[in-house]
């Protein structure tokens, strides 16, 4: 514990120089602008920024990416409040109460509350990141091939389930499609080029960054161009600094949303949008002012914004300890870490023990910058929202193309970006979530190697896959997730709950004991 605090102190001091502080400020501000603009998501921002920072030192590059990530997730609240369009999917729940507040002439207050909620959520998540990453990292040291295989399956199943709440089947199809994409190219055991059809380029595999830029960047550009134009509401921005009494009044909601956001962040591939919705839903159920929700509730706004920003450090917990991303932007960060030679995963506590605390320090700096920048220059920045999409989107596509090209200087990556952009567009149009596909691309190699390694170890025997304690827990979660979405299970559960309720009703209880 004390060792951790010392390492964290060292990490903070390491970043306390004018160069790094300048990087923190500009990248967080850029993140806020990216998040604000509908169509530019946090994932796209982090992916494009990865291509711009790949020649920097690892600490500087990851610092800039973390700032971009935290800034963008917060920045999306601006357009949610002022346009009723979430700047990033993570801010969809913010629209419900943020926009009604703006319509009531309280846009400034709503922005201030969103900033404070995001700040507190991010700080809470940061503490959890510092506490749980070494803990999970130590547990993960006991992971063998069997556990890693089940962890990959668990990630795909739970991510598919939560990112497609209406139809988990589509989420799972998307996830297994992503795993298949990862199979393309030369495999690690016998150097055989799978699904390459004699192409030298394909035998190198599908690179993650171009695929992600396509799925999140190009497809989003196409989506935005298809949608009708949005209108900025004319709301005066006066008081931005939130009232302390509001924060104290809703302290329980903030704490609850912080916990929910962090936990959801730590679940592989799920991400900030789900964290915000779940936090919002829990806050509504527990609130004394339930009627105000959806009509300009400050509590609802705080819950959504605290939840989505607490998810950011939460998503970094599995990235650092297991090399499994907790969200789509975290997946890009994971890829960026590999590009820079940092190898997150169970061995991080042995190979790069300081890096965990450096990420915690980066989160702290980005959070503070977000808070300061979020409460200042509000009126000036709102003007960014008036840039028409026809002028913004070609610029975004130019960055998508050059960003994909720059990493390996080959046109093949631009084609990959375009193909995945078109696939991503149709997936969105047909309500297939894209996050499980991205998670699949990342986990594919891990699943492939560990399944084959485990089968070789057991000589094809399947029993060891089901008898190890951690494997058993993961299998239980997988089965529950799948079975839990079947109609039969729902019927059985509702019948059981009905019977339990009957027993606990006073009359029935007395009858049953007499």
């Amino acid at each position: 514990m004390l060792d951790g605090i010392v390492r964290f102190g060292h990490a903070v001091m390491m970043f306390m120089n004018p160069g790094n502080l300048f990087d923190v400020l500009w990248s967080t501000q850029l993140g806020i602008i990216v998040g604000m603009l509908p169509g530019l998501t946090a994932t796209m921002g982090v992916a494009l920024m990865t291509t711009l920072t790949y020649k920097m030192a690892p600490e500087n590059a990851v610092l800039i990416l973390m700032c971009m990530y935290i800034g963008a997730i917060y920045g999306g609240s601006r357009s949610a409040i002022l346009l009723n369009i979430p700047g990033t999917p993570a801010n969809a729940a913010t629209c419900l109460d943020g926009h009604p507040l703006a319509k009531q002439g309280k846009a400034g207050e709503a922005i201030g509350l969103a900033t404070t909620g995001s700040f507190l959520g991010s700080l809470f998540g940061m503490i959890m990141l510092a506490f749980f990453t070494p803990l999970i990292g130590n547990i993960a040291l006991n992971f063998k091939s069997f556990e890693f295989f089940w962890l990959c399956v668990f990630g795909i199943v739970i991510c598919g389930n939560l990112t497609a709440p209406k139809d988990p089947l589509k989420g799972w199809i998307a996830g297994f499609f992503g795993l298949f994409v990862a199979m393309i190219g030369m495999e690690g055991m016998h150097a055989y080029a799978r699904f390459s059809f004699g192409s030298v380029q394909l035998s190198g595999g599908i690179a993650l960054i171009p695929a992600m830029v396509g799925v999140f960047g190009f497809s989003e550009t196409l989506m935005i161009m298809k949608q009708p134009k949005f209108v900025l509401i004319d709301s005066k921005i006066e008081r931005v600094i939130p009232r302390l009494s509001d924060i104290i009044k809703y302290k329980r909601t903030i704490l609850r949303s912080g916990v929910i956001g962090t936990i959801i962040g730590a679940i592989p591939g799920v991400g900030e949008d789900i964290a915000a919705w779940v936090s919002y839903d829990f806050a509504r159920r527990a609130s004394k002012e339930r009627d105000l929700f959806g009509r300009g509730s400050k509590e609802g706004l705080l819950a959504a914004e605290t939840g989505n920003n607490a998810c950011v450090p939460g998503a970094m917990i599995p990235v650092l300890s297991l090399a499994v991303p907790g969200s789509a932007p975290a997946a890009v960060l994971l890829a960026a870490m590999f590009i820079h030679g940092v190898r997150p995963g169970p061995l991080i506590m042995i190979e790069f023990p300081d890096f965990i605390y450096q990420v915690v320090a980066m989160t702290l700096l980005a959070t503070c910058a977000m808070f300061v920048l979020g409460l200042s220059m509000v009126r000036a920045l709102v003007k960014v929202l008036t840039i028409p999409r026809e002028k913004m989107m070609p610029f975004v596509f130019v960055l998508c193309a050059i960003g994909s090209y720059a990493i390996q200087s080959r046109m093949f990556d631009v084609y990959v970006m375009i193909i995945f952009g078109i696939i991503g567009y149709y997936m969105r149009a047909m309500e297939y979530p894209v996050a499980p596909t991205v998670l699949g691309i990342i986990l594919g190699d891990l699943l492939d190697k560990n399944l084959r390694r485990a089968l070789v170890l057991t000589d094809g025997e399947m029993i060891p896959f089901f008898t190890r304690p951690i494997s058993l827990i993961l299998i239980l979660f997988i089965v529950l997730t799948i079975v839990g979405r079947t109609n039969l299970f729902k019927k059985v559960m509702s019948a059981m709950m009905g019977k339990i309720n009957k027993i606990f009703r006073r009359g029935s209880y007395q009858e049953s004991i007499t």
Partner: protein, 171 residues
Amino acid sequence: MQQKNMVKADFVTSIVLLLFGTAILIMSIYMPRFEGLGVNPYSVPGIVPGLLGVILLILSLILFIRSIVRKGYRLGLSSEIIKQYFTDPSTRNFLLALMLSLVYGVFLLTRIPYSLATGLYILFFILIFEYRPKENMSSQKKTILYSFVEAIFVSAGVTLVFRYLFLVDLP
């Protein structure tokens, strides 16, 4: 997409996915097993893709059966519906943006210098979406000027940053 159309889309997608899953499975079965090299049979390259092919087949079969139960096979395609789809402004915008981006990404980048290709793409993208042919030319001077300015600044800025700051050998 409306629920009614979604069921139809699911029916078509499920058939595509069934074919896709089958193709993966067949290709995985035919992958080499390196028996002559004495390789462990459980480490062969086709084992994991084959498993993924089977899972995709099962999932797409469930989607297929579900779409049939919901009568998704009644596609009801007619020339009028297809015409309506393509004349819809949102579809037109999507197709235009896609075509422009494809021309830039696939043809222009490999055939003409990067800065010129980028400038032309931005110029035409803005003009095609913002210029109103029926309106007076003089009332749209600002749009035309803006598109030229953005095209020059973005192409010059991106070229300079990537070529001289990040030392990228541009396409």
